[in-house]
Amino acid sequence: MCNLRSTRFPLNQQPRIRNIQNPVPFVGALVFVLSFYWYGFPARYVLFANQDVTLFLTTSDYFHSFINHPGGLLEYTGSFLSQILRYRFPGAMLLGLMVCSAYYLAVALFRHTSDRTEAVVVGLLTAALVMAMHNYYPHRLHHSLGMILAILLANSAPSNLKGKRIYMLISVPVFYLVCGGFAWFYLVIWMIIGGFNNGRIIPETLLWGILYPALLLLISGRFLFLYPFKRLIFNPLPAGQAYGSVVWPVVFAVWMVLIPVLSRILNRVRWKGPQRHIVAPLIAVAVTILVLSFSYKRKNAAFFGIEEMAVREDWDELLRYVEKNPSTNLFGTFYTNLALCYQGRLCSDLLKYPQPFGRRGLCFEWDSKGEVLRRGSDFFWAIGHVNEAHHWAFESMVVDGITRRNLKRLIETELVTGNVELASKYIGLMNRTLFDRPLARYYAQFLENPGLIREDPVLGPRSLIRIREDFFADGIDLEKNLKSMVAGDVRTRPVFDYLMALYLLERRVDDVVALLPDYVRSIPVQLPVLLDETLLVYQITHREDSRTNLRVSQATARRFEDYAGILRQHRDQSVAAAKLYPGYGQTFWFYLNFKELIGY
């Protein structure tokens, strides 16, 4: 473990530290508490976003899939630790420990060449940068772990020549194999710490810091690993297309490299007086607050909060949340509509929530990459299109690897379609996880007794769906899929509601009314209010050629009279909209008249 006190000063200079109360542990504890609170509460979305990126399996195949390339063992460790993020407070604690480790390591790095108390400030800023990296949700645990290990290794290097040589000889290849591209970060810090003498580079530094690793890389690429050089160099650094372009890892890396330089500069600064102990910490706190506020994305927090509720299938809470925090994010809109569907409120409350994406907010178009693929299955599962739900979940598994989410969906779809052998295979896989064995046992009961499937509230209704006439699913055209379901005799509420919702969003009054007789026959409920409002519009615009015998409710008719009254009073559309919005903003009439004004 690295020594937080300076190891590079003769003993007669050390008493200065002993006489001052060491604030490092106290501030370290504060850092832990702050980060624990941060990830447990405001930035809780980080836990959710990272908990199911990959499902850790206790199989040898899973292990071998990681260790066949440099950096794989680090990724494996990260995958293991990510499972802890499923649990709120243990997950927050894990992230807190990581942040805290970075703090202590930064202090130690500073103390290599300085014993000033500004070490605490340096540590605090480092902690803030780690938190900023994690606020960006594609940043994984293994990214921070790699950085922390690199700093630890650099900090621990011996200063005597023989020790240094042996240390570098062994640590560089081992660290490269374990942590991949983080080896370069380690080497840069090591060179900054111990590679200079009176401002001049020690020649042997170039050997260990540049030539030796270059040779290792060449050997790896030429003889050991048959991967492209780019991958050998960069994997698994937080960079590249998959990670996205964000400044925090770069800022962190540069900051860590500058710490030893900063400590040497500060050694030459004479700053006496109590202001020194106030100003620096104040700056640190101010910068920390700025870093956290710049890196914290409220939109991500909102979206992942919505998704977490959707994954838990807590539709009530989801809708309560979006009522107070309406989402204008594609995925947020998608889940809002999904919740409305499950609550049977899609055709009554659709327009209570922002719908800036039109039909794309109902169902995604097929996309073989990215965020869309891992969520698309939810729509098809909701409407009972089991084959397509399976399709999306399977493709997500192929592209993203096995996650809890796609594996669960695969099990569900195989059970519903009676593919017992496949369901058994996937359940067997789920049984090889750390925390999902109870879920595997739950599904295993259906293997032993398939009759139970019909009684299950989730699987049962879907097992009863029979598509009378087969058709080909369309990856782009939602309307075609829904119409084909109806034509194939799948006349369930979700199918009808989504088709109606599509017509409503596209203001296709005639299509709504044409479908109404089927809707009413198949779904024995009172006509949802938006459909009632649309029917009224139809009857007004088709007085001569109305093709429906359905009647608008009296309540809707009365409301329309009031609506029309207000509308007639104001010639200016914007003024009319402003007047109508409080009472009628959620009606189909308002949407029909003022869709463009709303901004959709």
């Binding site: 084959n387 399709h391 493709e395 192929v398 690897g401 379609t417 593919n419 295979k425 194939g488």
Partner: protein, 493 residues
């Protein structure tokens, strides 16, 4: 400083550890039921996977490790050859792993005979015996290597895949090329000239697209697309002379069924046949196939190179997908002049049975044609009803043989060099993940019960999330190392 006392202590501790761990492992290897112990007989056979009950195996196959999928305190098995060779093994949690050397000796000593397998389980201290079963050992060996692609049986996407070579006499599996090495391009359609690993090819699709042809240790990367062809070459077939390769060119479409029971429909909307001259690089159409009157695909040569066989459908773009059906045809070829002659002959009338026939392949002795028959279309792996059909080319008689087929998909297949063994892609286990099954064809034209190629850990199939695609038997290992293929894919040679 380390002294002699230290060394003695270390050695003592080491010996103690070795002895105690040997005892531990030995206890894993026994004890079984004593020969004179009361062993109750069970009436039902063991629920084992893979199912090796009653199979016929080549004498050079790797150990048939299997697992008993039942509850029990302890499991034990005994393999007894008619020559008196016995192997006894304990099964850790019901999984049996037979030592390779002992297994080889057992098979070598019982060639042409049988091995009896007895499986025992212990419950509540009482040993019980399952009904014994036989494994027949054929005289004829199987080609020692199998090459296949491992790929998730997905719909449209892929990430990791690769071509692998498996030594069937052991459990060794080596990559020939993995797509991670070639910028995640797709690698597919590996093909060998009559099982000769010195003449092989595969396609790379993506940023490094092309066809990699390996011949006599040299690699060439070629682009088979021409202006007049529908596509680059797709399904390949080496002429036995090794100087010409036939390919199909295809315009392929894919759709996804809504109704459970069917998953994917892959069909050609146009397809033709081309010939690629290896030395000159010339690409020509096989005469009569360049127009759109028919769709021709899946070329294959007779072993003497005198005939080109292929699937052909009388269909066009507007034909409903479930009405597209293929028959097997052939056309005469003169290897000396490199020219085709005569008319196209009907070899197997699948449409007469309301079937479609794909993947025609001729046995190396020229006697049989094996193809895949299914209700319609041209991509049988997604058709549960797909079966292998054996056509006797000497008499024209055909049948759907029992031993090699199942009530699930059988699709792509490959003959061994001695025409006695066939490897078939099968989805009989779960309907999704394709696995290679081997079946023996005896002298009377009967296929014996197929068996799944064994793996060191018999449970590993349960956890595999990839399919074995296009299993091809080859007579020797591929000598070109992966590094050279990768280099050639990047640089063209």
């Amino acid at each position: 400083m380390i002294t002699g006392r230290h060394i003695r202590a270390i050695v003592s501790i080491g010996i103690t550890l070795i002895v105690s761990s040997s005892g531990f492992f030995m206890s894993c290897n026994g004890p079984g039921p004593a020969r004179d112990a009361q062993v109750s007989q069970l009436t039902l056979p063991a629920n084992m996977f893979p199912d090796y009950n009653g199979v016929t195996v080549p004498p050079n196959i790797a150990p048939l490790n299997f697992t008993v999928r039942e509850e029990g305190e302890h499991f034990r098995a005994r393999w007894e050859g008619r020559d008196g060779t016995i192997i006894e093994q304990s099964g850790r949690k019901g999984a049996f792993r037979i030592p390779v050397k002992k297994w080889s000796e057992l098979l070598a000593g019982n060639r042409g005979g049988a091995v009896e397998v007895k499986v025992f389980k212990r419950e509540q201290g009482q040993w019980m015996a399952y009904p014994p079963f036989q494994i027949q050992v054929a005289e004829e060996e199987i080609d020692p290597f199998l090459v296949y692609r491992l790929i998730p049986p997905g719909y449209e996407t892929w990430t990791n895949m690769g071509l692998y070579q498996r030594d069937l006499t052991s459990f060794r599996e080596k990559p020939l090329i993995e797509n991670i090495n070639v910028e995640e391009n797709c690698v597919n359609c590996h093909s060998f000239n009559l099982g000769n690993s010195d003449e092989m090819l595969f396609h790379v699709r993506g940023s490094m697209g092309g066809t990699m042809i390996g011949k006599a240790g040299e690699i060439k990367k070629v682009d088979l697309k021409r202006e007049e062809t529908l596509s680059a070459g797709v399904y390949p077939a080496w002429h036995p002379a090794g100087n010409v390769i036939a390919f199909s060119t295809n315009r392929i479409e894919q759709y996804f069924h809504a109704r459970p029971g069917r998953t994917i429909e892959v069909m050609d909307r146009q397809s033709d046949l081309i010939l690629y001259q290896i030395h000159s690089g010339e690409v020509t159409h096989v005469p009569g196939t360049e127009d759109d009157e028919y769709m021709e695909t899946y070329p294959t040569w007779s072993p003497d190179g005198a005939w080109l066989y292929f699937s052909r459908a009388d269909a066009h773009e507007e034909t409903p997908f479930d009405s597209i059906r293929y028959n097997i045809y052939r056309i005469a070829f003169d290897p000396g002049t490199g020219k085709f002659s005569g008319d196209t002959e009907l070899v197997f009338d699948a449409t007469g049975q309301d079937w479609s026939a794909s993947f025609p392949r001729i046995s190396p002795d020229g006697r049989y044609l094996l193809c895949t028959v299914h209700d319609y279309g041209t991509f049988p792996i997604w058709h549960r009803e797909a079966d292998l059909c054996l056509v006797d080319l000497t008499s024209g008689a055909w049948k759907i043989p029992g031993g090699i087929n199942s009530d699930n998909t059988e699709s792509f297949h490959s003959w061994s060099a001695n025409s006695r063994w066939v490897v078939a892609s099968s989805r009989r286990d779960d309907g999704r993940y394709t696995k290679p099954y081997i079946s023996y064809l005896d002298n009377s034209g009967e296929f014996k019960k197929a068996f799944l190629i064994p793996r060191r850990n018999p449970r590993s199939y349960d956890l595999m999330m990839t399919s074995f695609n296009r299993p091809e038997l080859i007579t020797g290992p591929v000598s070109i190392p992966p590094r050279r293929w990768v280099r050639a894919a990047k640089l063209g040679k």
